[in-house]
Structures are given as structure tokens and as C-alpha cells.
Symmetry: D3
Subunit: 334 residues, 6 copies
């Protein structure tokens, strides 16, 4: 019985340490990551009850992943065990003008092999209020879009709010393939998180001119209207370095548009920051915060994640609220 159910693939993440590139790494750090699992961990981290539905192989890597999620407080009862392998991705964190690079090795994973009928969705969703998925899952394999549709139908049948993070991955498919697969699934979505470029290239929003914020507002309004999303959330970045970034978020609720303050962030690990934003947003909306409070909380949650190694955030509600309220990192807390 969890308030929020997230569904997707979770992978073994192997990261190079100490600014090395993959050919030079003396060893590899290991953790787990995946857009939807990251959201579930963020929610559990904030004290929400969150479940993660996925499929992992019956081997020690699968065991470790289940343990890691359970340790972080995520309900793992809906993780199926079976299939061929766990997807892997290698991260070489960037610095300065050298960008972070990610090498995926995820084909044929247990979750990619998952087919409709494998999950007992009615049972998965029993007692839940919210379902979160992303645009990565339909790209995993030929039957993955059908699996998503099956879950979405069940979620709607169970009366859940559905959030969706587009997360276009060019290594998995083209924008036109993504458009073809994702657009028909938008009817199930209540809360859409995407980038202004993705809105245009994949969801069909007209391309807009102007500043970042102007372009975000324009496409958000179009998406909300065209797809009847109750909310559209977007984030923007600025700067040209891998170790620092500008960061700001926007939320459109009905016709009401709010923006967070703009952060100037130093980066420890950028992977998963968007997922922390999304998790923070769901958390805040679920507890009934105002739109402005929600986007402030979500932006702060994402901002905080930039200082945490690995895919998974580590912060308390109090820490995120203090950050949203303007308290930053200068003073030693003792």
C-alpha cells in the first residue's frame, strides 16, 4: 500500500572516480539509477510511501538493487524477478568544459523483456493515489509501449493521478519514433514534465522564440491545452561548464504559471537531478502545497541533488524547505 507507484527500468550504474574517463578509471563506483526509480527514492526519502514496479534478474545484481531500494524505504513488492540481465550504464562525470558522458549497455534487460500481462496492475495500484512513468520505458523494446499502455489503463481505472516525465533518449530511438509511441499515451497523463525542445520535437508543440522562460511558457500552454494536462512542469539550465549550472523551474497549473528562483549551482553529480525535481513536485502536490510552493520545493529538491553523488538524492524535507526559503551552504552546521 503505497501512495505513489513508479514504473520503469532501474540499471546498475558504474561511475569513474576522481575525474577519470572510462579508459583511465582505476576502479568503478557502483550504485543504481533509472528515472522512475530515482523518483521513487526521492519520494521515500521525503517520507512519502512509494513503490517501484520493475523487473530484475534473479542474480546477485538484482538482489543488491532490491536491497538498495528497500533500504531507502521504497516498497519493492512489485519488482518481478526474472529475465536475462540488468541493464548497465557507465558514467564518466565531466568537469569544466568536458561534459559528463554516459555509455549505455541496456539492451535485452529483464525490464526490456517485460511484456503485458506480467504485472498484476490492479494489485500493484491497490490503495495508491499516484502513478509515475517516463518516456524512456516505451523505448526499451517493441512490446514496452504496450506494457506502458496496460499500466496506464489500470492506473486510470484505479483513479490515480498520472505523472509523466518525457526524458527523451536519443540512443534508444529517434524523435519521430518517440513521437509516434508517446503521443497516443498522453491521454492518460495528468502532470507532464518535459523540456521545451522535447515539447516541440516529440509532443508536437509549435516551436517558439524568445528567452528560455518565454519558450517554456509557450510550449507548456500549448501542451496543457492540446493534451489536457492539468499541470506542465519544466526546468531550464544555463552556463557552459560541467561542474556548475544555472537552474530554474516553471509550473503551469490550469492557466496559472509560476516560476522558482534561479539557482547558481555547483555540481557534484548531475545525474538524477531532474528526477529529484519530479519527485519533489509530486511530494509537494500530494501534500496540497500551492503551485508556487510546489515549484519552489521541487526546484530546491532538484537543486540539492546536484550536491549528492549517485542517482539518488539524500535530503530531508526540512533541508529542502530551508533551501527553498533561501538558506544555502555557507555556514557549518554543528
Amino acid at each position: 500500500m503505497s501512495d505513489v507507484v513508479c514504473m520503469g527500468e532501474v540499471m546498475l550504474r558504474l561511475s569513474t572516480p576522481l575525474h577519470t574517463r572510462l579508459p583511465d578509471a582505476p576502479f568503478l563506483d557502483l550504485c543504481f539509477g533509472g528515472a522512475e526509480a530515482n523518483v521513487a527514492v526521492q519520494l521515500a526519502n521525503l517520507g512519502s510511501s512509494a513503490a517501484f514496479a520493475s523487473r530484475l534478474p534473479e542474480n546477485e545484481l538484482g538482489d543488491r538493487c532490491v536491497e538498495a531500494l528497500r533500504g531507502r524505504g521504497v516498497n519493492v513488492a512489485s519488482i518481478l524477478r526474472g529475465g536475462s540481465r540488468m541493464g548497465v550504464y557507465f558514467v564518466s562525470p565531466g568537469y569544466g568544459l568536458r561534459a559528463t558522458s554516459v555509455l549505455y549497455d541496456r539492451a535485452g534487460s529483464s525490464m526490456a523483456e517485460a511484456t503485458p500481462g506480467m504485472f498484476a496492475w490492479d494489485s500493484v495500484f491497490a490503495g495508491a493515489k499516484w502513478f509515475h512513468w517516463s518516456g524512456i520505458t516505451p523505448a526499451l523494446s517493441p512490446h514496452s509501449a504496450a506494457l506502458c499502455r496496460e499500466a496506464l489503463v489500470a492506473a486510470k481505472r484505479a483513479g490515480l493521478t498520472v505523472s509523466f516525465d518525457l526524458n527523451y533518449r536519443s540512443k534508444l530511438w529517434t524523435t519521430s519514433e518517440a513521437a509516434e509511441a508517446l503521443q497516443p499515451l498522453m491521454e492518460f497523463v495528468d502532470v507532464c514534465v518535459c523540456g521545451a525542445d522535447e515539447a516541440t520535437s516529440i509532443l508536437g508543440a509549435p516551436s517558439a522564440a524568445g528567452s528560455d522562460l518565454e519558450r517554456m511558457e509557450s510550449s507548456a500552454r500549448w501542451l496543457a491545452k492540446y493534451y489536457s494536462f492539468s499541470r506542465v512542469a519544466m526546468t531550464r539550465r544555463s552556463g557552459e561548464n560541467a561542474h556548475e549550472t544555472g537552474w530554474q523551474a516553471m509550473l503551469l497549473s490550469a492557466s496559472d504559471l509560476v516560476i522558482s528562483r534561479e539557482y547558481a549551482l555547483a555540481i557534484v553529480d548531475r545525474i538524477g537531478t531532474g528526477d529529484s525535481f519530479t519527485g519533489g513536485l509530486i511530494f509537494s502536490l500530494l501534500r496540497g502545497d500551492s503551485a508556487q510552493a510546489a515549484i519552489d520545493f521541487a526546484a530546491a529538491a532538484g537543486a540539492w541533488k546536484h550536491t549528492i553523488p549517485g542517482d539518488w538524492n539524500r535530503a530531508t524535507v526540512a533541508e529542502i524547505e530551508a533551501l527553498a526559503a533561501g538558506r544555502a551552504g555557507a555556514a557549518v552546521r554543528r
Copy 2:
């Protein structure tokens, strides 16, 4: 026979590596730290003869700490061995908008259990010129303030200059408890190091308005007059990030007020920077530098410490003088 005697508690410091928080740390780095021990190491590091008076348990942690201090050149003859345990503190260094956090586990330490009569102060101070203590020690246990008074009386009897760093720790006591304990001990103090806020909340200086420097000057002048301090030193910081800070220092000698240049610092480890400042100040005053030279040297000593991991600085007099003179880090020294 050491020129300077520092007294206080030294703890085992366990730090999380690689930007992790305590629940995620793969291992813990270990070193030792404590405000007064840090000053002693800074002095020894600069070539002064410095002794440290404290109490450590008779176990391998106590052995390691004594070795570490002795290795750095600190006279350890006045470290008593006995009592229950060594205090521990856990440091999770911050980055960007996430602040450094410190978790103390110091109750019941051997030094907290130290009582008046345990130290042979006349012998500890034999041949010394200077005694340094801090406002942490009286907070350690009910009898610790009496221990401080005993030491201060002996130091004055032996004709030593006494310096004091207020170092208010809110985990140990309230500001009013601190005020009650510390104010009666100020009569023994010649050189007082504190923050403008501490001057007001604990030592009773009137709260002042204006810029940082104006507030510092105002409270320093009040302190010097009210408590007959021969010198009052203060530092200020600016900025909102855990990995970078502005840094500037001020020294009031008689009615003469001097300030250092303002540094923009990148931070490797901020713990102990104030102690390096204080150690640098004592060193410079002891060798007879002018007030301006002393505050420049002390500010540079503290600035340099921001680049050194652990509580204990590592710098030569030549390096600090070069920094004070404006030579910074751009050129490779080969």
C-alpha cells in the same frame, strides 16, 4: 618547555569522503581535531614551541592522537591519560548550497571528565610565555569551568599572556549559559578572538548596525574597553556556498584597528580555519610583528588552511608570508 601552552579537548574526527553524506559514505577518513589542539599544531607547524594540555583515554585511539600531535611537533608531556573515552565528531563536508554538517558524539570524554587538581599547572606553564584556551572547554561538563579557572589563575600567576577564542557551540549550551560561565573568566584574558554575534550574545556587547566591518569594530572596541582586553581579533565571511567563501580579518590593539585584505577562497576543508587564524596571530604577535603584519599573517594563515584537508594546517612561514604579500596559487612551483 614550550613557549605556548594550549588547553582543551581533542577529538577523533571521522569524515565522509568524496562529497558523500554520512548515510552514504563508503568509508570514513580519520584525523584529530579540536580548537585548541588545532592552534597548537598550527604553532608547531610554524616553528613555535607549543604544548598541548589535555586528557585522553588509555587506549589505541588515545595513543594515535598522542602520536599525531607529537609527530606534528607538539609537546605532549602535559597530556594526561585516563578516563572513559575520546570524543568523536563526524564531518560531512558540504559543497555548493549544501552546508558542511558536523555530528558530535563527545559526551563523557576523558577531557570532559577532567577535574581541577588533575593537572600540575605550575609545571605545565614552566618556561612558557603564552596560554591559549577557548570557550568550548567550560561547556564540556559541570566541573570544566572550574578547571579553566584553575588553569587561568596559574597562567596569570606564571605571568603568561592569555588568549581566548570564544567558539560558541550551540550543541553544548545556550548563549545565556555560555554568558554566565564565560564572562567571569574574561578578567584573565589578554587577547580575545570572537565573532561579532558572539560578542553581543555572550559577552554582552551592545548590538551594532552597519556593515560587517562596522559591526566588528564596534563590538571589538566595546569588548576591549569593558573587559580590558589588550587585543581583540575577529574574522568575517561572505557568500552562500559551502565550497567558496569571502574571508577577512580585523585586529584591535589598544585603540589601533587594522584589517587584512579580503580573500575570495576556494574551500577544501573549512574546519579549523579559525584556529589557524588564531595560531597565526599568536605566532606573529609572539615574534613582535606590527599589528598590521600580524593581522595580515593571521588572515593568510587562516586563508591557507581552507585548502588543506583535516583540522590541521600544513604551511610554512614562507608560504604564509608569500600569500599575505599577494602571491597566490596560479603558478606551478617546480
Copy 3:
């Protein structure tokens, strides 16, 4: 059969990790470095065929170095084995206002002991187009300058283009000793890389006033004229911190002077950045790029190296070209 032959000493580099200084390092990282080997690796890294001529002891350190170079694609057929020892240098990377410091322990190395007659230069240079050396080698021992002359005569006899990087090392000799040894060898040089200060103090260029770029231009034009260099390349830095720097490069070809854009760089490891610049320059000139393209490529190659640990760059031609074209590190590459 390699297009470019580099000659010089390569040393074991032992570096302190995690911002520690040498007395505090918990362990030492090890790699290899030396100005000319770094250029060879940079060239091989970019796909050029590069050979390295040197002398290493017949022990496991020598074996490891040969393996490392061969692994990176450098032709090691001209590395002689014999002599007393491998030179070592200890690097304590700086941060903020604390400069990177280098401690050399290179006296009596196998390469310093190399004497004229040891290398079969005609065979080393067979099929090559370019010879690169530096101003470090003549300083290694009393007979090293003669060894350089022997190589230079052979290189010219074989019709190679000769590049030279001055690299003055004050630990090895004085500027006047360097001037005396190096000036007579300039007649063999086609492409000279040096700093504006070195041009004056060692190669005799008149000291110039004005901005960095003006001084660089002035001395480059004098050098090109006085020594008949076909090209002179220089780089400049700005800033006062060890972890960030401004970076810009200039190339004088015949009378045509071009400059790169100015980079604001975050630094992972600064050692070897000049060598990456030089390797990038040789690569670009060899493939026939225009002067502007060559200085842009070389500046970007050097800029990229600032983000790579160790002496040896790790970048593809495509990455450097993208950087030169303005694409930096902000976006995650997945």
C-alpha cells in the same frame, strides 16, 4: 615508421590524492610524464603515428613505462633500456590560492646518463616527418646538450621539420646556463614554442611592454626573425588560483599572427597542458590546417587537458574540434 619522433626524458610521477600535501598523503597515485613523452602521447591519442626516443632502466618501473606508452599507441622501438634509474617527480596538486608544487628527484636517471652515440638516429628518423624536442633535455647532464645536437643534426639530415618547446626549469639550471646551451641549437628549429618571459631571459628577445598579447607578439616576431623560425607559438594564462585559469594561445606563421579565443578553465590537472597544446599544434600543422585552425585546435587541445588527471591527455579529434568550435561541457552526453 612514425610520422613524429619525440625525444626526451620520461619520469615516474607520484601524485598526492584528495588535495593532500606530500607529508599528509595517504597513498600516492602513479603515472608517467615528461614534456616530450606527453607530446607523443597526445599525438598518438589523436591518431598520429608517434614515436618516443628515450632511455629507461631495465627494471619493473621501466617495464611499466614502456607498457603505458605502448598502450597509448606510441611507438616504443627507440626506447633504449639500461642505465641507473628512472627519474621521479612528486606532484602535490594545488587548489585555490595554494599552488601546485612539484618535487623533482631526477638526477642520475638513465636518460640523463645517455650519451651521444647511443641512439641510431638515422634509423630512429627513418620515414619520419617531424622531430620534437624540448629545452629540458640539454639541462639533464653535462653531455645531454651534445646528445641533442647529435639528434638535431640527424633530423635535419633526414629532412624533418623540427619543433622545440623551451620549458625552462629553474631547478635544473640558471637562465644564463640555459641561454648558453640553447641558443646555439636554435638554428635547427623550425617551430618554436615558448613563453614571452623565456623568449627574453633565455633566447635574448628584447623585453617588451604592454598587454600579455602585445608582449607575446613582440617577442614572437623578434624570435622568428632572429632565429629564422618558421613558426612561433605561445600561450598565456591569467588568474590567481590553482584550480582555475584563463588560457589563450597565439601562433606566428611567417608574418601572419593569429590568436585563439580565451578560455576560462576549471582545472583537474594542469601538468602537461602545454604539451597537449604542442601536440595539438603539431597534429594540426601536419594535416595541413590553416594557421587559425591550427591555433584553435591546439588551444582547445591544451584547454581540454586541464580536465584530465595525469600528464597525458585523453581526447578524440572530434572532441577537441567540438570544443574549438564552442561546444563545451554543459550538456550530459548520453
Copy 4:
């Protein structure tokens, strides 16, 4: 709702790596351990449902410990949060003729401060079948024995089987203090695990002569009769090195005495091996194994733990059964 409830203190364990002693350790590994938590983890590891009742401070160390236990599948609903601190123990693993040494720093821990009335035992034991405790807990503080009695009364009221591991710790109390505190609590115990020496010095068994096994049998029979234990389990070791040991176990059920085979073990980490034995025994008895099968399984579970770093075993039921059946470590499993 867990089948087995374990109660006791869990501590932060800090271990020296790479055969170092505490004064020489370059860093400290961290995990958690405590006799009863180790049993709970062992049970969860084997697929049993196990809960752990304890008290941990509300800080990041407490959070980490809860996460670690929950990750391993232990029900953490009965872990109270509050109190002063988490106990710490430092382990320096031995090797050869140098014994493993443990330095405790556990006074004043949150669990030591736990008092009767804090735990809602009826709710803790609801649905459970078994309660496990140890002879360490009554030694923690003056009120800890009363806390144990309160739990034991509730466990018996709820009809649970009660197992007890004596675990005498000479740093906490004398044998006569232990005898005085523990003997009155034996009336609640069904399954007693102890050593032959402890049986004599603390539980009052007559001292016996003869071989290890003879002495074990003699005291076990006395204990079973005197205290009406339904079962008594003992293990024995042989050898004189820290990195290898002989290992054998015995179980007395009613009047039926069975022994396991004797293992010759190589040791990675010896801490917690007895707890893995006890957990294996509870697991095996709970699933209705014969006495011989139970002692074989328990002995193998303890044997396997010797190869696993940290306090907590990591093995599947299949692995332990294979070991009990004689399959050891020679063949690579691929």
C-alpha cells in the same frame, strides 16, 4: 508481523583495513553490528521474516543503521528513535598470531538508556513465534535487566519460543554480576546458546574435565536439567591463529545430543560467526528440521560467515545446505 523478534543493541562498527592496527589505519570501514541484530539479519538473509527491536538516536548514524537493516530485509518497525548516541566499536582484525581486538565505546547509548515501558511489547510480538535476546543487554545499564524481564514476560505471555545467547562480555561486567543478573532470567528461556566456560562461570554448571566435546556435553546436560531448557547449543573452536580456526557445534535436544562435523576454516572476519550460527539454528528449528539437520545447518551457517566481511552474513539457504552437505570452495562457480 515477523516470525522472529530479536532485541538488543546495534552499534556502529568501525574496522581497520588491510591488516592495520588502530593507530596505523589509513581510513576506517564502517558497518553495523550487535549480537541480536546479527541474528535478525541472518534470519532475513535466509528468507525468514525477522524483526529487530532496539533504540537508536535521531541522527544520520541512526538513519543509516535503520536503512542498512531494512535493506537486508529486517522489519524495523520496532526500532525506537531517541536517546543520546549510537554505541561504537572499533575492530582491528587480527592475523596469524595477532588476535583480533575490539575497542568498545558504547556507554550511554540510546539502547542503554532504554527503560521499561518504552517498547509496546504486545504489539512488537503480535503474530510472532520466536523471541531472541542475549546476555549482553542486561549489562548495558542499571535498568537494562528490567527491560529484558519486561520483554521476556511479554514474550512468554504471547506464547513465543525464547532463545538466549549468553555472550559474556568482560568489559561490561564481572562473571558474578552476570550470574546475578542472568540466572533469574533463565526461567523464560527455551533454547540456550552458550560456551562451556560460560555455563560454569555464569550459569553455575559444575566444571567438567575431559575433551572439549565432553565438557560441552556435560555442561549442556546440566543446564538443560537445571534450567529446564528444551535445547542447549554450543560451539567450540581450536587452533591458535587469528586467520584460521577449527569449528564444531553441538546441540542437545531433550536428551538427544548431536554434533556437526568439524570444520577447518580460513577467516576473513570472525565477528558475528556465533550469531550466524544462532540465526541458522533458529531458522532450521523453525522450519522443523531434525536435530542433526539443525546443528549441521547452524554449524555451516556459522562456518560460512567466517568468509564474509562485516558482522552480517551473506549466504543463501542453498549455499549453506551445500556446505553442510560437504561441498566446499574449491571449484569456481560459473
Copy 5:
């Protein structure tokens, strides 16, 4: 132009450190391994000229692997670049009674996707004397056996001696599948390395009774006769621990059977020891050693590998010869 060509798959090996199992590993060590690559490295290590023919993806993992092989002196000109991914295997080294375990994730690798026609075998084999392959490759994918046949036909056409190491992997196929695929390829084999059990279950030798050596001799004689192998080599192990083993080797040449002495080995890393044996055998046979000398050298080469971490041996010819001659590890070599 290399004397020996080895063909097969090379994988990324990720190993758990410090005796941890995969769910507990704090990080993963990385190297490369694969039966045939291991043989090639062993040969290059001994000074032979060895080439490796394989297929690796065009990504940074592939780059690293090529660099590693080239660094070790292996000719990498016949490594094709392309395909989907690099196979990965996870190794958890065992200790004591816990066996080393290997988790393969190799499906769909670039080498598994290699098809007949991709390699220009005549060019690969030009100038070579020997071809080595293993029974793993035909199991990689449906077309892999045909790829092997293509290579074998070309090798024979070029007049090479062919060696074969059976290396049955139960995760890839059944013994009957292996028998069906491998038996028809035996006609190309001159030197066969296998185990006595494999000889029976896969190559059809009658099962024999008696001691290990008797069973080895019996099946070797049958194999040599039935398949007209010029030589059959086998090794045997004894003991039941993961960290120590008995080790002995046998070679049948024509009708002449020789055995090595039996070693009692302490194990650092057992993976690749058989490949070091095979590489040592090829090396010794190629230089014309007697059968006794060859089996002694090969057995010592394999024995030595047990002390080396990773798949790849590190030993000089002199070291192996000294070991074969009885000089072991007791004295410090300084």
C-alpha cells in the same frame, strides 16, 4: 606478423574487492579477460610475438581493452571494431570454503555477433606459426561455430599448428550441445588441452576409473588416438578451499607421457590460471623444449598465475624457469 594468433572473446571483468560478495562490494575493480586473450597476453609476456583476433565495440570500453592488450605487447591489428557491446563478467573471489563465483553478462557481445566473412583470415595468419582457440567461442552464438570453422580451415591452409582448450562453460550450453558443435572441429586440432571430465562428457572418451592421474592418462591416450591429436595436455587440482589448491599437469606427446611436480598453491586469483598454463605450453613447445621441460614450464606458468590478481599473468621467463626448477617464494629478493 606474429608467431601465435589467438582468437576469441575478451570481456570486461569487474571484480569485488576485499573478500566482498557482489551485493556488498564498495566498488568494483576492472580488468579484461577471456580464455584466448589470456593466452595471448601470457605469450607476449614471455616475449613471444602474439596476436589476438576478436571484435570489440566502438566505445570507450573497447578502446580501453585494445589499449590494455597493446600495452601488454599483444598485436591488436586483427581486432575488429563494431557491434553492440562488450561482454561483461563479474567475479566475486572466494576464500576458504566459499567458492569464487562468476556472473556472466555476455549475451549479444560484438564478438558473439561476429559472423563468417568478417575476418580476413589469410591476412590474419600471414607469417604465423600457431593458432590457438577455445571451446568457448562456438558457444557464443548460432553462427560462432561456423566462424571457428572458417578460421580453422584458413589456419590449416596456412600450415599452422592448432591448439585448442576445451573450456566447457555450462552457462552457455549443455554438454551434448558442446559435443555436437566441437567434435566435428577436432580434425583441425593438433594440441588439445582439456580436463578428464570434459574428455568424457564432450569429446566422447570412455569414462575411466582410478586416481586423477590415471584417469587423465586414460582419456588423453584415447583422445590422442581417436582425434589424432599430436599432443594432449591436462591439469588437475586437489583440495577443498578457494584460497589454496593442489596443482599438477600432464602432457601426452605421441605415446610419451610426462607429468610435472605437484604444487601446493596459495591463491590470489585463480581465474586465468589454465590459460597461463596453455600459454606457457605453447611458448615452451614453440621454442623446442622437450616434453618434460614443456610440461614443467607450463605447470610453473600456471602455478605462478595463482599469485597474480586479474586474468593476466605477470612473470618473466626467468621467474617461471626458476619456479619450475624449485625456487619458490621464501626469500625476499632484493
Copy 6:
């Protein structure tokens, strides 16, 4: 004012971790070592007052070494600073049949450059009772034997007991060179530690037949008589592995010959074990132990060192006495 003065060279020791050989080491551990410094540390470790006379360069490596010695309690007042460099040695610890190997890079060290007249011996020896040196020092450079003689003359003038450990190093000189240099210095020696082979090849003892102990006795008696040594101590080893060894010691005092029990040792680090033996012997003799007690203590001190990483032992007097009395490593000490 130290009871014992040791003189010799101390070097930076760089060790490969995790069973790697030098070409494969991922990083290098660093400590310091040298036969005489090791003895001094062993003595200080046991509570004796020990001083070390040597010469170290004025750089950060020298600073670190001084700190390390001082931290361990060694009087460093007689360490001169100056000269060219610190000697370095690389250790690759062996395992099983692979021997530990040492690569020296010590030519031209500051101590090798030390010449007669540099040390103020009368002041160095003031208040001391014992002088210890070794047969390594005379081999360091052409003037090192004269330096030794100068020290020995002064030591005898000051009435000190002189101990000598032969420590023949074949990388530094031949046995005949050693004989020529050392024999004339034996007149100053009271207590001689050497091996039976060294006694013959360097000190001229007749070669003897029989068991190890018989050969040791025979040469010890010859040495004692020929050179008028008051005591001769020897150790013997057995076994053929790098990670385990037999160990036994013998002491001849006047005509009284005693032997220790024979240990079967597991080895963490063998370097420095002989020095720990010698340090233990000096300690025991200085406190007036009987010959049997002294050889038992010394043998146990050396035995214990086999379990300690680095050159320097770490043990208390109580630990060594317990070991000598038969208490070994089986029981966990808590």
C-alpha cells in the same frame, strides 16, 4: 638524551597494494624504512628512549620522515637536514610461491653523501648507553665506512655497548667488498646479529655442516671467539612460501647458548622483522633479562612484526611477553 642511538639510512618505502606487482599497482602505499630506523622505532614502541642519527634532504619527504619518526617517539635531534635526495625503495609483497621483491633506488641519498665530521658524535652519544648500526651503512658510498668508524670510535669513547646487524645487501656490494670493509670494524662490536651464511661469507667463519641450528651454533661460537663478541644472535627461517614461514632465534652469551621456540608464522609484511627482533633483543638486554628471556622476547618481537604492515612494528611490551609466553591469536580480545 636517549638510552639507545641508532645510525643509518632511512628511505621512503613505496609498496604495491593488494598483491599487485609494480607494473600493475593501482597506487602505491608509502611509509619509511631502513634497518637502523626500524630498530629505533621498535625500541621507542616498547617504551625505551631511542634516538636516530641520519641525514635527510630539506624537502617535504624529509619533513614527512622526521614527523613519522618523531610521532613514533624516536628522538630526531640527530637527524641532519641537507644533501640531494631521500633514497627510495619499492616493495612488491609476495604471496605463495612468488617472493617479495624489492627494487632499490637509493644511490646518491643524503645519508650516502654524509661524510665524517658532519655529526657531532660526542653530543649525539651524550647520556646514551647503547649504539646500534648495521652492515648496510658502510656500503652506501666510498666515505660511508669512514663515517661508521668515526661513530664507532666515539661510541666506544663514550663507553657505549655496540650492537651490529650485518644485513648483507648484494645490490650494494659483493661479499668480498663487504668482508674487506666490515671485518676491520668488528673490533668495536659487542653484540653481533647476523645469519649463518653471512658469518661465513663475510666475517670469515668456517662453513659448517648439519642442521640449521647446528650451523648457527658453530658459526656463532667461532664469531664470538674470533671477534670477542660478548653476544651473537641469529635467526632462522624455514618453508618455501612468501606468506608463511618458520621462525626461530638463537643467542650466544659468553659460552651460554639459548634458543627460542620455533614459530609457524603467517605473514602480512616480512620487511623489518629482523629489525624488530634486534630491537626486542636490545630492549630485553638493556632491562637486564636473562639470556633465555631475552631471546624469547626478541623472537616474539620479530614474530609479531610479521603481522604488521610496513617496516615498523606496532606492539606493546605486554603483547610481546604474552606471545613469548605462548598466548597467540585465536581469541578475540574484547
